[in-house]
Symmetry: C2
Subunit: 198 residues, 2 copies
Amino acid sequence: MKRILVVVFMGLAIAAISIRVGRSQTSQPATPGPQFAADGKLVRPEGYRRWVYVSSGLGMSYSQKASDSMQMFTNVFVNPVSYDYYLQHGTWPDKTIFVLELYGSTSQGSINKHGNYQKDFMGLDVEVKDEKRFAEKWAYFGFNSGEKIASASTPGQNGCWQCHEQNAAVEHSFVQFYPELLKVAKEKGTIKPTVHLE
Amino acid sequence: MKRILVVVFMGLAIAAISIRVGRSQTSQPATPGPQFAADGKLVRPEGYRRWVYVSSGLGMSYSQKASDSMQMFTNVFVNPVSYDYYLQHGTWPDKTIFVLELYGSTSQGSINKHGNYQKDFMGLDVEVKDEKRFAEKWAYFGFNSGEKIASASTPGQNGCWQCHEQNAAVEHSFVQFYPELLKVAKEKGTIKPTVHLE
């Protein structure tokens, strides 16, 4: 009986330690990788606001001609498991998901007098790496504000793909615009030699 | 012996389940609450880039006079446990830590032609809620780029405190500049009635 109690106690102790380990990780949800509808359109990623924040821009444009519409903030997030992999290797594992969130900007509001802050949610752009599904490895999808499934399935070497292939510093990620990720890429030596960082 | 083995197996099964639960939460680290040096200065928070992202601004200023120095991006993060509490209650628990990260901005670089992205890390501003340590509940600390301990201990009703007390929409947090948190405050009815949101 005594031996059984000792064993029970040990089992419970292990369980308790394991639960504590779990809890100490807080409530950042697991990410199952990109999910697709039957027709190949991407299902909108959920919970990405608990993923790892990458960086933000305001009104960024790669065109020579400036836009005359409202400047938008772009907040970029990446799924945590892929971020952990990137920190170790400087490259992105299969099933990586980047979410680029679009917010309208405003300057005058509350006590703010200058500069810009974020106001209305405008949509999502999503980039996924799925080596089995896409021969080109990376694919691009857009979601309007309320859409649950991407408007269109856009795998293939479309405009997004071509630009990321040619200009993104690490694989298809523009780490030249993300200071914390750029440090890692420099340390790991994973920047594409053909890319101009400055 | 058989009974012991059954008990061992049950213990290990519980442990295995617990470990799986832990793993599914990924690797967002625990945050122990604000840490202070013996002289009352705040120890720089570590790992805040894995906390919950709140929002970003660019060149925000509450002064009538526009600044002629470089516009800076401000990225705001909050510790995950406090964020979870906020989602449920619309208010902030004791030991909440907000980190406001400062990055220099640039427009021309790589293929970018317009707008701004983040470049050089410039420092941190940190706001903590610690009800036992501060009679005023909230306190404010600044860190230059490489500093590990805040330059100065600034509890008390200093300029930061006064402005947040008077103008921040929820307790001392400017959720009027954070669209996702503002939604929660509206739903929970926790916006200070004296504050102008627009």
